[in-house]
Amino acid sequence: MSAIEKNDARPWVGRALPRKEENRLLRGRGKFADDIKLREMLYLRFVRSPYAHAKIVNVDVSSAEALAGVVCSLTGAEIAAQTQPFIEIGPDACGKIKDYPLAVSKVRYQGEPVVAVVAESAGLADDAAELVQIEYEALDPVVDAEEAWTDKSILHDEAGTNHVWNGIFEYGDVDQAFREAAYVVNIDRMHFHRFSSTPLENNVVIARWNPKDDRIYYECNNSFPSFAIQFLSAHLGVHIDRIRVETSDIGGSFGIKITSYPQMAVCALASKKAGGRPVKWVETRTEHITSSAHGNERTFRDTRVALDKNGVITALVSRHIDDCGAYPRYEPLGCVIWSQVFPGVYRFKNARIDFTQAVTNKCPVGPNRGYSRMQHLWFLERVIDICGHELGIPTDDIRLRNYIRPEEFPYTTPNGCVYDSGNYPRMLKVAKERIGWDQWKKKQVAGRNEGRLIGIGIGTTLDSGTNNFGQAQIVNSGAPFSGNSQGANCKLDIYGEVVVSVGSCPQGQGHETTAAQVVADVLNIHPDRITVRTGFDTERNVHTGFSGTYASQFAVSGLSAVHGAAQKLKTEMKRLGAFLLETKEDDLEFGTGEQGPELRATSTGKSINYWGLANIVNVNSAVLPSELYELTLNCRYIWRAPFKVPDTKKKFGSLTLTYASQLHIAVIEIERDTFIPRILDYVAVDDCGTVINPPIVEGQVYGATAHGIGAALMENCVYDPVGNMLTSTFSDYTPITAMNMPTVKYDHIETPSPHSYSGAKGMGEGGAAPIHTISAALQDALFDSGIIIDDSFNNADSLFRAMMANETSQAKKVRVERR
């Protein structure tokens, strides 16, 4: 039993309850996919392309297969002969792309798997992989999305173009707003860099294609298995019910593990070829960095911002070019997902954004914390920040002039999204107080007088959670997805234990704890009396086609499903209790007595514990009257988000249910001699509505902040002009560690969401806030030097180059028209 007192009358939701999973995970008792060892298990190793773009002239696996201990190998041609290409979400030319899990006739990015070798041990598989001979004929690579759009070198011949998607998102009267503007700020080009996530645990797949029942069994750490099985079923030509996917503990995903289904396909096919023996693949760190998935890289061109005389933005026009790497896979969903946060936290109503996506000879992108929205929010934060500096309006003030006001919530954006709640001015006030804004402003002036480059920056971001998958129809009107749902089961087991299962696959988010808190409140028992079975299992857990853990939604979709299932169980328990205690349902109260959790009749004092209730239904059922036969005490609930299909022509509709927000402030000094940016102070203020478990929220804020600071200052997927990834190890990619993290001051406000039963909003994806904030702080430090921060990645080297370029170039990156 927890140290928290049993008789504390406060609800469990909202308490700082220690995580139930902590004991297991911190003592090394977790069960991760690589911990699983099966009898007769084989090991798979990929042979990957050194080229970014090349024809495959010849593949010779004879030497590898001749090595003792090697069981088989697989080539792309073999796979193409027995499978269908993966489903493409995009329309038109994009839909013609033939994506197989091993390259068939061409390689399209460095690190693309070409051959799989399967052996009795991982070491043998490594040795055999080196014996595979592949002859390539190099082709011209294209590593820039704008260049790719010209189609001079085409990646997918069957598509005939590198174009993935293009659409114009236009709302309001843009031209009128520009005609009436007092100021027009023109920004030539901005660029959001490519980075990824570095979970502690890389991708792992164990597959067994059992010849006895012709079913495929997976144990893996994919974080969106219900999506993966849809792709695998169509690709492998296997009925979806014949694919079982189980996940156990997962050591982080941040979205990146959603797109491991190609490797899952290869492992299943390898198992089939090996006669049904289980095949394990454990990704190396370099494989993860070069070829799992990266976040979307985006370039913003020809941005024009109209403002009135008070510095309020009235209209925005821009062209956005997104680089999705060699294969669209989860794309082009990112071409619309950014529009969940179309105006960011600002009030402007008129805007036209021409959005384009192209394939390039780089690692395919995938959902990465803040997927597709962080790029857009960074863009908007750069816009507001640059406008403030250019017009001489303090950066806190220009934000206050433009923020959506607290009284305007629920706020409908120009594209029909409904922001549920928020109070951005209050967050700014809290953040300024926590960091000591006024004192830092004075220190900044003093520092500048001494020649120091000190900047103070604000970043405001949104974490939109619980997607309406109907937005897929905006990119492809034929996409058969809409809405969102999650399933959960809550039961009294035969001896009366409360057991909860839910279709999520947590990766450190504390689902065991928060689900237990929700059920504990419904049944008025201690959370330690509730068992929450975590880990996804297509055969054990209730799940829907949206089940998994991604897109900041568990607090809403997962816990709503858990809450619904617990309510159903409670209703059944009351019916049964009323019969057994010979009283009315409204006379019953739930609580914990001498013999554990129980129902009590308040009028008579008689009670029955959970064992008694479960016993009657499960093993003593002859005492039940026939009208109670329908009671099972095993209750399944599917929660559905109240979405409608968006208007695909107008690109209008509610795309997300909840909008958590984050506001960060950073104080940064750029060392004059080395150009190293050093964080002097940092505050993160979070609003995820009603907080279910404060330490879990705080932990996710710290994690997201670390990810964002790393992305802003250290982590960059660098490619050379021929498509070599130059940052393929931790030595070069330099992920942030505890050694690089500043002390983060944390605070929060709560604006409960009217869109969730508890007022909670999904959270955990606020990783973009530090990128906005650090760009803004660097801008503040360097604006007087004539530097415009137009890239999301800024380390000492890039700041040095920006300073040098500024000294030698007269080209203005920003131009202001004053009317």
Binding site: P50, Y136, T286, N724, L726, S728
Partner: protein, 146 residues
């Protein structure tokens, strides 16, 4: 990742003699650092095997070479493609000959395009190592043409 090399040297041989040496794989290829073997397919195509060792990446590289352009006694240009653990390499090497008093001036230039994981080492290890190996080749050439 491209690594470029260039330089020149003078030898006391006629341009014809230098040219004949450069287009003879048996004599030229043997000068390659850590040369292991040679197989000649035809007068303009041959394959050389060289030992490669860069930090922990060790092994044999097999490089298919082609005498892409040769005009006696003015120039000889090679191109080649090879593979080894950690990556592939595409090579171009050219020798332009001009007569000088009592000998020949050899102006050489080369470019190695590295593909694969090996390329991420280019900025640090590969470039100086490549320059060292090229210098060995040039030293060998000068010695052989003395």
């Amino acid at each position: 990742m491209a690594i470029k090399f260039a330089g020149d040297f003078e030898v006391k041989r006629t341009p014809e003699e230098v040219h004949d040496f450069l287009i003879d794989p048996n004599r030229f290829a043997a000068l390659l650092p850590d040369f292991q073997g040679l197989s000649i397919q035809d007068p303009t195509h041959f394959t050389v095997k060289v030992n490669v060792g860069i930090s922990y990446i060790k092994g044999t590289a097999e490089v298919k070479m082609e005498l892409a352009q040769a005009e006696r006694p003015k120039h000889a240009h090679y191109k080649g493609q090879g593979s080894m653990a950690g990556g592939n390499v595409a090579l171009k090497a050219g020798f332009d000959l001009s007569p000088i008093d009592g000998g020949t001036k050899v102006a050489w230039q080369g470019e190695a395009q590295i593909f694969g994981g090996l390329a991420s080492m280019a900025g640090g290890l590969l470039e100086p190592l490549g320059k060292k190996q090229v210098q060995k080749l040039i030293d060998g050439l000068q010695a052989a043409l003395r």
